[in-house]
């Protein structure tokens, strides 16, 4: 059954989109990520204009993250104060990101920056995550004790002013690093059409040193706020949110996220991380390697008004 999308102005197969939404939602629930980094490339591949894909995907990520965050709230696994501080930075980042994206579109360089961002961020994070999880899997196979996490936090986190208490994360740190992190993720969210969980989760673990139990829930909470804002800004500034597309995706997405969240307890954390790392790497390479091959068609047509 084909359906015509009013903003994207293309006709798509509705059951295929719902199934895709469910598959990405499942992965999202399984790993506690938004899933935008998977869905946006798939939408572009299906022929949806990249600007519409990026903007509508933010809406879909907001839906599947909401679906996930409620169950984390029940388990008291969300640090709302830390999430709020991250989101404050995220809000600033979305504003900057949406304006950067507008400017890049006018220059005709949006595709390049999207591809490069995928290659760099997904490539680096995928590689780091893969090597880390592989080494802990190998250590467990050899019967060695898991490496003790160093509790010593980097001194620069404590040297900065504007300290704040985060009781649920058992932290007393400056608000500057979380705000800076939020700004960065907000910009990525607008440019790449992602929630930014794949950056946020490792950063919360390795830089902010938050307890593992609250990381995923807090990341989802901040993602909801940032992607909701990005969605509204994209709709308001660029008129590129396709509500029909977003709704088709989120029908499958919210259901898949619930199933995925249940399935996640059956796997070991490091195996899940290794699998996620491979997916992240594959998507990054798929999006970025095209930049190195000689294109079959040397010209690219774009809409006239940017």
């Amino acid at each position: 059954m084909d359906i015509y999308l009013p903003i994207a102005e293309v006709s798509v197969n509705a059951p295929v989109l719902i199934a895709l939404g469910a598959a990405v939602g499942f992965i999202s629930g399984l790993f506690g990520i938004g899933g935008g980094f998977l869905m946006t490339p798939v939408l572009i591949f299906l022929g949806i204009p990249p600007v519409v894909a990026v903007a509508s995907e933010a809406n879909h990520v907001a839906a599947s993250s909401t679906s996930g965050v409620i169950s984390y709230t029940r388990r008291k696994a969300v640090d709302f104060r830390m999430g709020g501080v991250l989101a404050a930075g995220g809000a600033v980042g979305s504003f900057i990101g949406v304006e950067i994206f507008r400017w890049l579109r006018l220059l005709g360089q949006a595709d390049l920056v999207v591809s490069l961002s995928y290659l760099i961020f997904l490539g680096v994070i995928g590689a780091l995550m893969f090597s880390e999880s592989l080494s802990s899997i190998l250590r467990r196979r050899r019967g060695e004790a898991p490496k003790r996490r160093k509790d010593r936090r980097p001194p620069w986190l404590y040297g900065l002013p504007f300290k704040m208490r985060f009781p649920r994360s058992r932290l007393y740190i400056s608000v500057i690093p979380p705000i800076a992190l939020g700004v960065f993720v907000g910009i990525l969210s607008a440019i790449m059409g992602v929630g930014g969980g794949f950056v946020l989760v490792p950063a919360m673990v390795y830089i902010l040193r938050m307890p593992a139990g609250v990381v995923v829930g807090t990341s989802l909470f901040q993602i909801i706020i940032t992607t909701s804002l990005t969605s509204v800004l994209q709709a308001g500034r660029n008129q590129t949110v396709d509500v029909v597309l977003a709704t088709l995706l989120l029908i499958g997405g919210v259901l898949g996220a619930q199933v995925g969240a249940r399935a996640s307890s059956r796997f070991r954390a490091e195996e899940l991380r290794a699998l996620l790392a491979l997916i992240v790497l594959a998507v990054g390479l798929r999006m970025g390697l095209g930049l190195f091959f000689t294109p079959a068609e040397p010209f690219v047509l774009m809409a006239g008004n940017g």
Binding site: D2, I3, Y4, P6, I7, E9, V10, S11, N59, H60, A62, A63, S64, S65, T66, S67, G68, V69, I70, S71, L107, G108, Q109, D111, L112, L116, S228, S231, V232, A235, G236, R237, Q239, V241, V243, V244, A246, T247, L250, I251, V254, L255, A257, Q258, G290, L291, F292, F293, T294, P295, E297, P298, F299, V300, L301, M302, A303, G304, N305, G306
Partner: protein, 254 residues
């Protein structure tokens, strides 16, 4: 007055109609096929050729060329082209080059090679070979490559088409042509021009209008998104958050 007109042969005339004059783009829209019927009235039955030109609303477009910079392929600065219709179709009874001369086709804008697509921002006026006010394109020698790329890419997406057998005579003096609108056909007012050519000259011309418009829920959503973009954004976020919440509640019960 009538006495002054030579009585022997009345001029030939063409007449045509479209099966549909209003294409409604709804959620089930997957493109449309419109049939154009027409008749040639010529008592003298001179050899006639029919050319049908359908143009959609003009839409400026930008074209960039991929160039290799430091090992990666990046887009060059985009060039704005004006005068390009959002949809263009030329159908004729035989190849346009056999129907009329280059100059005639150029004057009528008949055929994708004769579309008045140009890049005004890339032009500058110079004195060349002692001649003042010569219009020179900054695209230089490559200008034709760029122009051809516009047509090629539009043809690939089904928005431009040239069919030199697209008009066929189904009966004596009666002809038909098909207009295929792809899903990506732009919204707006289209014109279909029907030319009757005899002896290399256009002797009769008819114009028919066609409207492509969004209808039903598609139209409502499109207008909502463009007229009240902020409320639209808030509404779409509200749907997303409500759906996420509903799914989580529904699954908790199980």
């Amino acid at each position: 007055m009538a006495i002054l007109v030579p009585p022997e042969i009345p001029p030939a005339a063409v007449s045509a109609a479209l099966t549909t004059t209003n294409v409604r783009v709804t959620s089930s829209f997957r493109g449309a096929r419109i049939v154009l019927y027409g008749a040639v009235f010529d008592p003298a039955e001179r050899p006639s050729d029919v050319v049908v030109i359908v143009r959609g609303p003009d839409a400026p477009l930008r074209l960039a060329r991929k160039t290799k910079v430091a090992g990666i392929w990046v887009n060059s600065r985009p060039v704005v082209f004006e005068g390009a219709p959002g949809f263009y179709m030329a159908a004729s009874t035989k190849p346009l080059g056999e129907i009329a001369s280059f100059g005639t086709l150029r004057r009528l804008g008949a055929g994708v090679d004769h579309l008045a697509i140009n890049a005004p921002l890339e032009e500058r006026i110079e004195t060349r070979y002692g001649v003042r006010d010569v219009v020179v394109s900054r695209l230089g020698q490559d200008y034709l490559d760029w122009r051809r790329a516009v047509v090629r890419l539009k043809e690939e997406s089904g928005l431009y088409a040239a069919d030199d057998r697209g008009v066929s005579f189904v009966d004596k003096g009666l002809f038909r042509a098909e207009i295929d609108l792809p899903t990506a056909a732009p919204i707006g007012v289209y014109t279909a021009e029907i030319f009757l050519f005899q002896n290399g000259q256009p002797v009769s011309r008819r114009m028919r209008g066609l409207t492509v418009e969004k209808a039903g829920i598609e139209r409502a959503l499109y207008l909502f998104a463009h007229n009240r973009p902020w409320s639209y954004g808030l509404a779409s976020v509200a749907i997303a958050l409500a759906a996420g919440w509903a799914a989580s509640v529904a699954f908790r019960r199980n």
